[in-house]
């Protein structure tokens, strides 16, 4: 592996990080504001992919445009789901089992509806972009799809950053994230903010799902591996900032991408260097999750904050 190959991998990892971040952001806001672990996030991702798929196949709409269209559609959808189901959950400032099971049940329902409509087969969205790539030098080749998806993901996060820090709604969200009771006392309408937040989270999920549909093939079971990754990113990056999500996404993406090329010693009839077989890759998010949760429960931010003593 020479420098160019490493660079190629690094770039791919960064692009992947962008996608992961977009995907995790939806789950992060819902978790932070409402303390709900939204397992149905996987279902929304999957629906986003199918949404863009349908638009592409029926109306020949460019998938990227489809993803943008998904934003308002899924925003409304999310608000509807909140109004119908989520608002009945008992409020708590720590995540409850009831919320987990409710969203999980809803995810099962979404999966089944998808099965009924589209069947079990893997689908993909192929555009002229999918097969072409940008070449730098001899070794570095980046599929154009990844670039487009990355750009869209970055856009998404910038929007969120603006909403978070420069709007009334964003401030309500941050207040609820930091101190739910205190926020209510000062007059933040937690029901309305929760509804809007859920809508926002769903919108981002639909958006990310549509983008992911361009990169990977999908079936109704699509969201599951991404659920775990989203949660790892949340735990790594903390809840309060978009940059935290970005950082978490970068760490995860780099670890995943480079896992197959970092040699590690292992004893098997003598010390040898091994490379992780690609089929073991799905284990990485899980291992990372356990490691992070056990060692740094507050995420990367906790690791840095411990050194600070301002008094």
């Amino acid at each position: 592996m020479d420098a160019a190959e490493y660079l190629d991998l690094l770039l791919k990892a960064l692009l992947l990080a962008g996608v992961y971040a977009a995907m995790a952001v939806g789950m992060t806001v819902v978790y932070g504001v409402m303390k709900i672990v939204n397992l149905a996030h996987a279902g929304f991702l999957m629906l986003g992919a199918y949404f863009s798929f349908e638009l592409f196949n029926r109306f020949h709409i460019n998938p990227v445009l489809g993803a943008v269209i998904a934003l308002p559609v899924f925003f409304l959808f999310g608000m509807l789901v909140h109004w119908l189901l989520v608002r009945w959950l008992p409020k708590s400032d720590t995540p409850t089992l009831a919320s987990l099971l409710l969203m999980f049940g809803f995810w099962l329902v979404l999966q089944n509806l998808a099965y009924a409509k589209w069947g079990n087969d893997d689908q993909s969205i192929f555009t002229p972009l999918t097969l072409s790539a940008v070449h730098i030098g001899d070794t570095i080749s980046i599929p154009k799809v990844n670039l487009v998806v990355f750009a869209a993901a970055v856009f998404c996060m910038v929007v969120l950053q603006i909403v978070f820090h420069r709007s009334w709604f964003g401030r309500s969200m941050r207040a609820l994230i930091q101190n739910p009771y205190g926020a209510q006392i000062v007059g933040v309408d937690d029901q309305r903010t929760a509804r809007l937040t859920f809508g926002l989270g769903t919108a981002f999920a639909g958006f990310a799902g549509a983008l992911l549909g361009m990169l990977y093939s999908f079936s109704p079971d699509f969201g599951r591996p991404f659920l775990l990754r989203s949660f790892v990113i949340i735990v790594l990056g903390g809840l309060e900032s978009v940059s935290g999500v970005a950082l978490g996404a970068i760490v995860l993406a780099i670890l995943e991408t480079f896992s197959t090329v970092i040699p590690f010693p292992w004893y098997h009839q003598g010390w040898k260097t091994y490379y992780l077989p690609p089929s073991y890759q799905p284990v990485i998010p899980f291992v990372l999750l356990v490691v992070v949760l056990v060692i740094m429960p507050k995420g990367l931010a906790g690791l840095f904050n411990r050194k600070w003593k301002t008094a």
Binding site: V37, L85, W88, L89, T94, P95, T96, L97, A98, L100, L101, L102, F104, G105, F106, W107, L108, V109, L110, Q111, N112, L113, Y115, A116, N120, R224, P225, L227, L228, F231, V235, P277, S279, Y280, P282, V283, P285, F286, V287, L289, V290, L293, V294
Partner: protein
């Protein structure tokens, strides 16, 4: 043991034994092979569900990863039988391996609380499934076949399963009434307050996890032996772990008979729905789960309205109130549709 005070107490004590004896004697009536198969599956899944209930219902630690123990039970039993041992030794071996695995899984994950723990268990299933898919000793993704010299005897499998579920119920009852059960309930409600009274939540969770895993492993072994062939995508599937979770939650999380009820419902749904409307079972489970969470978190067994309603209906069938109510309803309906003329009061024009 104190004697029951009233009718319902006696019923609670006697009915399970009656049920057990009835199930033992059932083959005398020469039921069809399908009935035996259904009862077998119900018992197997109820056993796994009862196991999960120990950890998730009594101790309040919801794990999505019990497919691991089910699968480990299957594979261990298969491998031990392949090496020439009796199937029953295989079941015990399956339980033992599952319990061992539960320690390895619990050691890091039980430091986590609430949903962090749940998410970690989701990851566990995935990780184990990937690993089992890649291992050669167990046949990898293509699965494993158990070969038995004896001819297929459905009754033997049936009785094994009945004994297993009875064992699971017994274990659940013993734990629930012991000091350990009290500690688990305390951990479920307020782990730190329990620690302040001398309960060590970490080790308690590890122990109950082991017992739960053992029961689930036995269920997996029994299942595998009858199935004869299985593969990681089946026994280690995420869906299997979900089923094991759904059964006690829908039936009645934290109770002893809830998982059994859940097992019955599960098999009914599987058989009726899977036959006619393929792949709608997820919808049913999802909807049931949502309903349970929003309406009756204690599970169907706790639903007083359900049982009271059914009881009233049954009683009414005999005393005529049901018929009267139905008749009144029919009258109202017919009147609305104008098939019956409303009574006119004499003298008014």
């Amino acid at each position: 043991m104190t004697l029951p005070q009233n009718l319902s107490g006696w019923l609670k004590l006697v009915l399970p034994w009656l049920l057990f004896v009835a199930l033992l004697l059932l083959p005398v009536t020469s039921p069809s092979d399908n009935v035996i198969r259904l009862l077998f599956l119900t018992a197997v899944y109820s056993t796994a569900g009862l196991g999960w209930n120990l950890l998730g219902g009594m101790a309040g630690q919801v794990s999505f990863g019990f497919a691991v123990f089910f699968g480990l039970g299957s594979y261990t039993t298969a491998l031990l039988m392949h090496a020439g041992h009796s199937p029953y030794f295989g079941f015990v071996g399956g339980a033992a391996i599952a319990m061992l695995a539960s320690f390895f899984i619990g050691l890091p994950t039980f430091r986590l609380r609430g949903p962090y723990f749940v998410i970690a268990t989701i990851g566990v299933t995935e990780a184990v499934r990937v690993i089992m898919n890649n291992l050669e000793i167990t046949g990898g993704a293509s699965g494993y076949r158990i070969i038995e010299d004896k001819p297929f005897n459905p009754l033997e499998h049936y009785y094994t399963a009945i004994v297993a579920v009875a064992l699971a119920v017994l274990v659940s009852a013993i734990i629930a009434n012991s000091k350990f059960g009290l500690a688990l309930r305390a951990i479920k409600q307020d782990q730190d307050a329990a620690a302040d009274l001398g309960v060590n939540p970490y080790t308690s969770k590890l122990w109950i996890h082991a017992i739960a895993a053992g029961l689930t492993g036995i269920a997996g072994g029994i299942y595998a032996r009858r199935a004869g062939f299985f593969y990681p995508g089946d026994v280690f599937a995420f869906q299997t772990g979900i089923n094991i979770l759904l059964i006690p939650v829908i039936g009645g999380v934290g109770t002893i008979w809830g998982p059994v009820l859940g097992g019955v419902i599960f098999i009914i749904v599987e058989e009726t729905i899977s036959a006619k409307y393929q792949d709608f079972h997820l919808l049913i489970y999802g909807a049931l789960l949502m309903l349970i969470v929003l309406v009756e978190p204690g599970g169907l067994i706790k639903s007083k309205r359900l049982w009271a309603g059914m009881g009233r209906l049954l009683v009414g069938l005999f005393t005529g109130t049901t018929w009267k109510a139905l008749f009144a309803l029919l009258q109202k309906l017919l009147r609305k549709l104008r098939f019956l003329k409303p009574q006119r009061i004499e003298g008014k024009t």
